[in-house]
């Protein structure tokens, strides 16, 4: 099983941390990532590709090569960080502009035949209250509906690695 790790914290991870050639890591803080501008040209001009050049293609290819994508995020004012949100906003070109029905609701149609399952590691810089955790977990389930996939796990931890290594060995 190929695992993509999209680490949006400022503690970089390396291949050595996992020692597993099925794991691919992207540390988003050390690459160039622009904010989505909402132009929709990834749907209407260059289907599937963002028209603004940055390092997002590397993340998108890593995601699409995986069976499980694990996002790692700090929790800031009770929600995932703007850094992870920046990455997620820019996954829009993975979907198609047409509509489809998922979970009884309208969502965008799949562009690809399959999408990886998704997981979330929340870094507890301060204790994450149970209400904040529930809000994030509930919202992350909705991210999976948008991506036509499932949530494998959501965990909180005080470092990006400890709990994640356990989860990866369980899967």
């Amino acid at each position: 099983m190929n695992i993509a790790i999209i680490n949006t914290t400022d503690i970089p991870l390396t291949d050595k941390d996992f020692n597993n050639d099925k794991v691919s890591i992207v540390n988003t803080r050390i690459i160039d990532l622009k904010y989505c501008e909402g132009c929709f040209e990834c749907w209407t001009k260059t289907p599937g590709l963002c028209v603004h050049f940055d390092d997002m293609p590397k993340i998108l290819q890593t995601i699409m090569n995986s069976d499980l994508t694990v996002y790692i995020s700090d929790v800031k004012i009770g929600f995932i960080s703007s850094e992870l949100k920046k990455v997620l906003d820019k996954t829009l070109p993975l979907m198609h502009p047409y509509f489809d029905i998922s979970h009884g609701e309208v969502h965008h149609k799949a562009r690809y035949d399959r999408y990886p399952e998704i997981a979330l590691v929340l870094i507890e810089n301060q204790e994450i209250s149970s209400s904040a955790y529930n809000i994030i977990e509930n919202w992350f389930a909705r991210v999976s509906y948008n991506m036509m996939t499932n949530v494998k796990f959501v965990i909180k931890d005080d470092t990006p690695l400890g709990g994640l290594k356990n989860e990866i060995s369980n899967h």
Binding site: Y35, K76, I77, K85, I135, W139, R142
Partner: protein, 248 residues
Amino acid sequence: MKLVIINGSPRGKESNSNVITNWIATGIVKSTQVNKISAIKTDFQRGAKDSTKIIESMQLDKFYTANINTHREAVDSIEDNSTVVVVFPLYGDAMPAITKLFFEELEIIANKKENVKMYYIVHSGFKGANHCRAVERYLVYLTDYLGFKYMGTAIKPGSEGLRLTPVENLLDFTNDFYSLSKDIAKGSDFDVNTLKRLVGFEFPSEEYKIGIKQSNGNTGYFSRILKQNNAFTKCFDKPYQRKSKKSY
């Protein structure tokens, strides 16, 4: 009264959010019932920050989260007794990243300001207010975290066409947003009937879903733009199709 309007769209001034914030600002000006409106010449399209003195006792500042350089100024403009209205489009069932960044910057005034009222307006591309409910829960949490007073979230699904629709076809919405501005100017909760009208429905009807299946999800809107851009034949391209790990 100090009123701070935050346009949370990455599209800045070219956004549907701007149509809504202009309605809100105009509605507030109207509801103060000053006859000097023409003298004020409220032009919310200019500059990174638009500042208008509506009457001696009311100052209105408007900021765009798309302009990161003004985030700090926007935070600083929130004073004791301010009313803040945040309008943003739904992105991935939450706020756009740039607006989340602005929220993170609010942390420096958390529990440091007295009597700040927060109103939110969230609008989405999809119809069905259910898409916005997860972020609505977070907005309640955020406001409490900041030590501000949560005044409500108005949800307007199906907003993508607003900025392209002639104003005369939007009169119902305009009136609903004026009604929200009256509530904001009075400092009261949003009127529940206005909220219900804006929401329309929570989940799409069975007929609507059948229609989507039958049309293969093609709403016409995106096909038209793809054709205009000579990109229609590429619309099902899969540039990130799975590759082996070594090949990229």
